[in-house]
């Protein structure tokens, strides 16, 4: 693999809902093995950005390239076959299939993608559950029987079960207590390193950012207004970023909202 070939290359990505422009010409490169965290206030289009890259939403303009291949206008069928197996995704609410047991959830990608028989898939699922710190007896429960933190962990196990090359995390710590949030952050770092995967995380939890990120991009009003290494985030010299990371009410972002 060429080292200068970005894993994900987003160019001029634009997405509108009705008249509301959510993403306005986003350019973003994510290199292999990179851990990028996208920050931004609620409703700034962070989720939309991820969903456009995943192909769950069709952008209005711009291109998305995965490993140099333009996947923007790929047919659903080809995408299923050629692109989706590279992705793992941890959804905000977990999005576990509530009609299935935990192990069936975790092994879903294995049985559908790799045709692994059920008995073997269950063993792999239990191993993946152990990776996220869950005991084997959880495997036979249904998602509704688990606490929020455990659901997140099962969802994480499902996201990493197929050994994806790129993993997306949509607000992984939202709704968790600070300790469980730290556990999840730790697991994310560990899993991503173990797989050697490229990670894209969206969050507004600064503890997550500091723990997970190698690079940080800040999204505001459809643009990336700051991009840099995570170590620089406290010295960005950008008033927007400063306001966001310190969670101040006063600042340019608040003013921008008022102008709307």
């Amino acid at each position: 693999m060429e080292t200068n070939q970005p894993k994900i290359q987003v160019q001029g990505l634009t997405k509108k809902f009705g008249k509301k422009v959510v993403l306005n010409g986003i350019d973003l490169d994510v290199m292999p093995g990179e851990s990028l965290v996208v920050i931004g206030g609620s409703g700034t289009g962070k989720s939309v950005l991820i969903k456009c890259i995943l192909g769950l939403l069709n952008p209005d303009a711009g291109t998305v390239k995965i490993d140099g291949i333009d996947v923007t206008h790929m047919s659903a069928r080809r995408r299923e076959k050629e692109v989706m197996h590279k992705f793992g995704m941890l959804f905000q609410g977990g999005a576990l299939f509530d009609s299935m047991r935990v192990w069936e959830n975790v092994s879903f990608g294995l049985t559908t993608l790799k045709n692994i028989p059920a008995a073997e898939a269950k063993d792999i699922a239990i191993a993946k559950l152990a990776d996220v710190g869950l005991k084997p007896d959880v495997a036979d429960l249904f998602p509704a029987e688990l606490s929020g933190g455990m659901q997140k962990r099962v969802a994480l196990a499902r996201a990493i079960a197929t050994d994806p090359e790129i993993i997306f995390f949509d607000e992984p710590t939202t709704g968790l207590d600070p300790i469980m949030a730290d556990v999840i952050n730790h697991l994310i770092v560990e899993c991503v390193q173990k797989l050697g995967a490229t990670a894209v995380t969206i969050t507004h939890d600064m503890a997550s950012v500091r723990k997970i990120a190698r690079h940080v991009a800040m999204l505001h009003q459809g643009h990336i207004i700051w991009y840099g290494p995570a170590s620089q985030i406290d010295h960005s010299g950008n008033a927007y970023v400063d306001q966001f990371i310190h969670g101040r009410m006063e600042g340019p972002i608040e003013m921008a909202v008022r102008r709307d």
């Binding site: 969903k51 989706m84 197996h85 992705f87 995704m89 609410g93 509530d98 990608g109 559908t112």
Partner: protein, 268 residues
Amino acid sequence: MDATRSPAALLLDFCQGIGTVLLQFCQGTGQFAWFTLQSVSHIFRPPFYWRNLVRQLIEVGYYSLPVVGLTAIFTGMVLVLQSYTGFSRFSAESAIASVVVLSITRELGPVLGGLMVAGRIGAAFAAEIGTMKVTEQIDALRTLSTSPFKYLVAPRLVAGIIMLPCLVLVADIIGVFGGYLVAVYRLDFNPHTYLQNTWSFLQNMDVISGLVKAAVFGFIITLMGCYHGYNSGKGAEGVGVATTNAVVSASILILLTNYFLTGLFFAH
């Protein structure tokens, strides 16, 4: 404000209003047509999820039996009572058995059975798929390289198309049996003659047309359930609206297509 506007501007507003409605209608129709085509094409393209199909066959068929059976038995019973009070006025009691069996196999079995299943299955599908949509489970399916059409919609459609005729066949038998019970035990008909009258005027086509109708209704019910669930709005309210829409649209479409199918089968 409006009073000061020129007639031309008002006319423009009027046209714009019509245009918007027309565009929305076209968009809705197109969206529905696309959904239907996608769903049907995925029925025939591998991979097939047999486990999901079996689960839906049981859900649509087996678990609907009590509802459909109860509907059928009371329909058969009331048909005999009603036609007896009518037909006895001109001594045509011997026609009751034929009237009952023809009404049930041709119309009441498929239509009432279809409406009951629409309430049960249409609502269940819309709520289940709608909830999956709202909680991002459908997106999760897609990120796991699984087409929601193939995994969720196609097995449900096939289950509807297969199980509705089975249910209606059972309903036909139970309905006729209900009529028989009332005729023999309440109205003192001769059991042998009643059964003979039931059989003698019944043609294959009467039953077959009912079963074909049932298959079409099965398709309509499951398609409406899946479509409204799949396009459900956000939150609990969105799922609620989707469920209502699924049942109402399926019921109306059943009654509508029933008329045209009857015309197709028996008009000549």
